[in-house]
Amino acid sequence: MENLKYSYMMHWKLIPYKKIENFRDFYYIDRSNKAYFSDWDKIVKYHVGAGYKGIELMPFERHQMKTLFGSIQNFVDFIKERGLEGISGMFHGLGESFDRSQHKAMIEEAQEIIDDTYAFGGELINLCPVANYNRVGPLSTEQLKAIAEVVDEIGKRALDKGISVCLHNEFFCATNTENHNQFLEMTDPRYVFYCLDTAQVALMGIDPVEFYDKYHDRVKTFHLKDTASAPLPDSVRHSQDPEIQPDGHRWFWEPGEGDLDFKSLWKLLKKYNQKGWVTIETDGTPDLLASMVLTKWYIDHELSPIYK
């Protein structure tokens, strides 16, 4: 029995078809590889073929998925029939969560995410706690407290359904280098856990290996990705919409293609007997399928011999 289960983050955007019934004819319309990325049937098979057990969903596409499949249960059945174990969880983001007057609406929206995650059979909600630094930063201690309050409440509600809410910090969030660890400690460890996105924290100037060593009790899951750009200066992290650069510069790479020390991290995973989902996230890649397979090779040949 393996301790770690690998999931792949849903960055495919919308997938328009459930299954292309006449695949060969469809291909011949324009003889393009677009045919290979247009239906769930094939996308799911790529996950299974590459050795992944699950998918982490983005929230934006779930309405289209529900209607395309008729119900969430139909979708779950569809992916299981093709060999996936299930949905690991869903991503969700909060906006001006430091504003207590918005908490009621935020909790209602989060409840929909919790209910849908439960219906999908997911175990995790990876939660970005606040809007971009450029829009709302810097945050005061009082504002951090307000964010912790709403995150705790969402965590409590999720746990009622057996789902763990895990903080997930983008490198451009208003919770950033100066208060990232402080904010984590302000949340209630009974209800709020942590998703360690290795590249995002490195870009904030935080060593993911040291972070995990210190906070392993809170770390429930990972977004595994590499970077060759850490640490980023304030001028980038605090800028308007820095995630996608105008010149196409990439912040994120497949594990093994950047600078991060995943082998030391995996030694700690072994030390602390980490269990559960690890999501591979390859946002920014020009080719999700290539990145998915390349990453799995690195895991199987470089990381799994250390711990799996």
Binding site: K18, N22, K34, I244
Partner: protein, 321 residues
């Protein structure tokens, strides 16, 4: 007639290798030069508020993103001009992303962002803003109207509010020196000949018509006949091709652009389908139409190939007819 091309040939919503680079500014800046090299001096810009959210400011489809990338619409247009694009011929706004059970929210967002599109057009010197009048019937029937009474009654009320919104927008646009026009997607409540229901109640001086040849064909109408009928209200014409025949009534199902069975590809590159574009071009000439014709290879599998296919088909088939 002036002939341009629509940026809707770039598929941003669906996956394929190399899709992600389309979120970066450099991709579009190179594309303008390619469009110009393919002989198009005017473009149609889809206005998609979706890109205001989530930090994709490289995609030049809203006031917010263009201001973030260029500082102002004026500077963006200057950049286009320096890349060989002389004009943003038209802007297309589709409010479908806001549809949900809360119709006050939908019509509020519809108006808010359509006014932004008009503002964008006014600042860019664009004369026409084309609006998709309603979301797809399948979405309205399967998700939005459920539990809100009988469908015919619900539709009547929805259309009333839609036409009120369009009439108000037409007035706002007119004051900004911009003409509003509506188009009829084959999946909307204005599909095929149902465009009549809208145009007969909207003031001709304030709301015109933008004919899309593929949508009209799929909607079981003859595009040339519709063009003749509304020759005095035409503000822009989309030359789009298709070989799709809607034999299973996908026009009223969910996800109509991606049918679950049968011929699952709806739109195709110009010249690859069955629409009589040379005949329609001649009809436009006979009608004395002298506005923009926008070539659309909607969500093509290969942007560069589509640009050259359009140019070849225009020069060797359509314009020679």
């Amino acid at each position: 007639m002036k002939i341009g091309c629509s940026l809707d040939l770039v598929d941003l919503r669906y996956q394929e290798p190399n899709r992600n680079k389309r979120e970066s500014q450099y991709y579009w800046e190179e594309l303008y030069k390619m469009i110009s090299a393919a002989g198009f001096k005017g473009i149609e810009l889809p206005y998609e508020p979706y890109w205001d959210f989530g930090g994709r400011t490289g995609i030049p489809f809203t006031l917010y993103t263009v201001k973030a990338a260029y500082g102002s619409v004026k500077k963006y247009v200057e950049f286009l001009n320096n890349s060989g694009i002389e004009e943003i011929a038209s802007i297309h706004f589709n409010p479908t992303m806001f549809i949900g059970k809360d119709l006050d929210r939908y019509f509020g967002a519809f108006m808010h962002f359509a006014v932004q599109a008009v503002e964008f057009a006014a600042q860019a010197g664009t004369k026409t803003v084309i609006v998709t009048p309603t979301p797809d019937i399948g979405e309205l029937q399967l998700n939005v109207s459920v539990g809100q009474g009988e469908w015919p009654v619900w539709v009547e009320d929805f259309l009333k509010r839609t036409n009120e919104t369009l009439a108000k927008l037409g007035e706002i646009a007119s004051k900004s020196g911009v003409k509003l026009a509506i188009k009829n997607e084959f999946w909307s409540l204005a599909h095929g000949g149902r465009i009549d229901d809208f145009l007969k109640v909207l003031e001709p001086g304030l709301v015109g018509y933008s004919a899309d040849t593929a949508h009209l064909s799929i909607g079981r109408t003859n595009p040339a006949d519709i063009i003749k009928k509304y020759k005095d209200r035409l503000d822009c014409v989309q030359f789009c091709d298709t070989a799709f025949e809607d034999v299973e009534d996908y026009y009223k199902k969910f996800n109509p652009e991606y049918p679950a069975t049968g011929t699952q590809k709806v739109f195709c590159d110009m010249g690859q389908g069955k629409v009589d574009l040379p005949g329609i071009y001649n009809t436009l000439k006979e009608c004395g139409y002298n506005g923009w014709v926008i070539c659309s290879c909607r969500q093509t599998a290969d942007v560069m190939r589509a640009l050259l296919r359009m140019r070849y088909h225009l020069d060797n088939v359509i314009l020679k007819a």
